[in-house]
């Protein structure tokens, strides 16, 4: 197969272990690249600093979900028991907040959990049917014992030679160009 007229997605470099990956990530960041990412079979701690990531937005999404659940549940119960169809049950007050607590709590947790899960997938742009990286056979190791960095072509500073050079300096064991399609 030839590599003619295929647009480059980016350049992928493999490293031996988490330590080297982190160091490399730091170099990449310091060299001013933004559109890059590192890939590992497990989250490596300290990587967020190395890559200079901002805190995740997820917390706010979950808060919203939780509030929705709480207010929704409370509103439903108060409306139903107090206004929509009030019934004399055991001579208790129609609107009887203490007995609403368990359900309110459960609904809060439920909606928060939905928000957390689906919010996370959304932030990660998952599910995703295809990813150019999967064109690279070696990238399979990323879920096993491989440690990769990929600088994407979309980055302003991107130039194949610069990037390859950077990777070689940082001690990559393999460097490979990733194309959008095979």
């Amino acid at each position: 197969m030839t590599t003619k007229n295929k647009n480059v997605h980016g350049i992928l470099a493999e490293f031996r272990n988490p330590k080297e990956l982190i160091d490399a990530a730091e170099m990449v960041k310091d060299s001013g690249y933004n559109n890059f990412d590192t890939y590992a079979p497990f989250p490596i701690h300290g990587m967020e600093k190395a890559m200079g990531l901002k805190d995740s937005l997820l917390g706010w999404i979950v808060l919203a979900g939780g509030l929705a659940g709480m207010i929704g549940a409370l509103a439903l119960m108060i409306w139903v028991m107090g206004y929509e169809y009030p019934l004399n049950i055991s001579g208790k007050p129609y609107i009887n907040i203490p007995v609403y607590v368990p359900i309110t709590f459960e609904m809060t947790v439920l909606f928060a959990a939905f928000a957390a899960t689906f919010g996370m997938f959304a932030l990660n742009k998952l599910p995703r049917f295809h990813n150019p990286l999967f064109n690279v056979e070696r990238f399979k190791k990323a879920s096993d014992d491989g440690f990769f960095i990929c600088i994407e072509a979309s980055d302003d500073l991107f130039s194949e030679n610069e990037v390859s050079k950077l990777f070689t300096d940082s001690g990559a064991t393999h460097i490979e160009t990733v194309y959008d399609s095979e």
Binding site: R16, N17, P18, K19, E20, I22, D37, Y39, A40, P41, F42, P43, I44, H45, M47, E48, M51, L53, S56, L58, G59, V62, L76, V80, M81, E84, Y85, L87, I89, K92, N96, V99, P102, I103, F105, E106, M107, V109, L110, A113, F114, A116, T117, M120, F121, L123, N124, P127, R128, F129, H130, L133, F134, K140, K141, A142, S143, D144, D145, G171
Partner: protein, 481 residues
């Protein structure tokens, strides 16, 4: 004299000499290799039980609740006992994956996947009972607040309704939690898989996970939040289950000690069940190095503590019955001990109070066979605990004239046995097709995973310098000379 200190690292979480790759292969080989004969055999047995379950539930719906041994004072019997028992068991998984996660207990990674799976299937078994125990199952959906032409709504002050919400929420959240944990491992299986079918299936399940750290970054946040949500949830569920009893006014039910006592009992039985399953699975699937003796001992310690909490609750009940001067409470407690169901009480005492005391001995805690036996006994004991609470309190309450003796029928028993079919059918499918250990998380707690364990110059991994992983606190000991 001079003191000097030395660092004694905790025992390694993963025994043997493992690399990331070897871990992957060890765990991924089961789902990706061909099915062993033994599995088919086990699956057949499970299916048989499942058919028994479906058959007897069918007959129940056809003929009516009357086929059970229920009577006028005892409106609840085995169905509710089994419900509480299964839900209780269902607590271990989320507890292990959520609470231990928050407490940074690295050893959880060896069993959390396994335990969560058990949780989900146990809760499925549990959820079956409230559904089928009603007189008119075809209108069971009336317990959900669905707008309807009659304009009537559920009664939100009923503990039973709280239960509906609690259990369904618990099931959903556990499922989400479990799946979130599974995604990276599905990716691993996707990449390891040889057959096209496997590639596609696991590929879909993995949602296109790449292991990108930007994803890991949100992922870990989500995982942390889910753990944070699941922790109060897991405590709330059995609390609310206990409300079914505690909020009523039946002597033996109407008791403020129930929520903590139920939660302790739940953890107790949950860990017992995890142990029973784990000790078998680790042997069959050769995972001794991951689900190792250290972990078993840790779980035994949890069992010992919760077991004694439960025992303490029994004592407290007795004391309160006497101290309250409430004749009905005294009556029911006396009936526990010497009444027509006393046999149940003494079985309970043996299983739940005597048995855990053996766990004070380290050698027993580290003995696989004994641990297995104890875990079984504990589960029997926890079933009888619910039996005493549900049946005895009901059949001998305020009005002696209405006292009646409850005894189960064949159908009670078949349905209970049948739920094991449901449980194991799913559990075997899980063992066969899913990574039974959280691959990514295990890797995460291996010393190699920590950049600090590498030589600054050569970037080589230095075993000797292995510092505690994120989960291992340093323990300081005084060395005497």
């Amino acid at each position: 004299m001079s003191k000097n200190y030395e660092y004694v690292p905790e025992p390694k979480l993963i025994k043997g000499d493992h690399t990331f790759g070897s871990i992957t292969n060890l765990i991924a080989k089961t789902p990706l290799s061909s099915t062993p004969k033994l599995w088919y055999l086990a699956f057949a047995v499970a299916n048989l039980l499942l058919i028994i379950l479906l058959g007897s539930v069918g007959y129940l719906i056809w003929d009516g609740i009357g086929i059970w041994g229920l009577n006028n004072p005892a409106g609840w019997g085995w169905a509710i006992i089994n419900f509480v028992w299964w839900v209780g068991i269902g607590h271990a998984g989320t507890l292990i994956s959520a609470i231990l996660f928050l407490f940074r207990q690295g050893w959880r990674t060896a069993i959390n996947r396994f335990a969560e799976a058990m949780t989900i299937f146990a809760v499925m078994c549990a959820g079956l009972f409230p559904a089928i125990h009603v007189g008119r199952i075809w209108v069971i959906y009336w317990v959900f607040p669905i707008p309807n032409q009659m304009g009537v709504w559920p009664n939100f002050s009923s503990p039973l309704l709280w239960d509906v919400f609690a259990v369904s929420t618990y099931f959903t959240v556990s499922l989400l939690f479990w799946y979130v944990g599974l995604v990276p491992d599905f990716a691993t299986l996707r990449d390891k898989a040889k057959s096209k079918a496997a590639k596609i299936t696991y590929g879909i399940a993995a949602l296109g996970w790449t292991g990108s750290f930007r994803n890991w970054w949100n992922y870990e946040k989500a995982y942390m939040i889910l753990a944070g949500l699941a922790t109060p949830l897991v405590l709330s569920v059995h609390t609310i289950v206990s409300f079914d009893f505690a909020v009523s006014l039946i002597p033996g039910w109407h008791s403020t000690i129930f929520p903590p006592y139920f939660v302790a009992g739940a953890i107790y039985s949950g860990f017992a069940m995890v142990l029973s399953l784990m000790l078998v699975a680790r042997k069959i699937y050769g995972l001794e190095e991951i689900m190792n003796i250290d972990i078993m001992e840790k779980m035994n310690l949890v069992m010992m503590v919760t077991g004694n909490l439960v025992a303490f609750a029994y004592l407290t009940e007795g004391f309160v019955a006497w101290y309250s001067g409430y004749i009905y409470e005294q009556g029911i407690f006396w009936l526990y001990v010497v009444g027509p169901y006393a046999w149940g009480f003494w079985i309970l005492m043996f299983c739940n109070v005597i048995t855990p005391q053996f766990l004070w001995s380290k050698s027993i805690r580290r003995n696989v066979t004994l641990t297995f036996i104890i875990s079984i006994i504990v589960n029997i004991g926890m079933w009888f605990e619910r039996f005493m609470i549900a049946v005895v309190s009901l059949s001998t309450d305020f009005m002696p004239s209405s006292w009646d003796y409850y005894s189960p029928t064949l159908w009670d028993i078949l349905i209970y046995v049948g739920t094991f079919g449901l449980f194991f059918t799913f559990f075997l499918l899980f063992l066969r097709f899913m990574p039974m250990v959280a691959i990514a998380e295990v890797k995460g707690v291996m010393p190699q995973a920590d950049p600090h364990n590498y030589d600054e110059e050569t970037n080589d991994f230095i075993e000797a310098r292995a510092e505690p992983t994120m989960a291992n606190q340093q323990t300081v000991q005084q060395k005497s000379e």
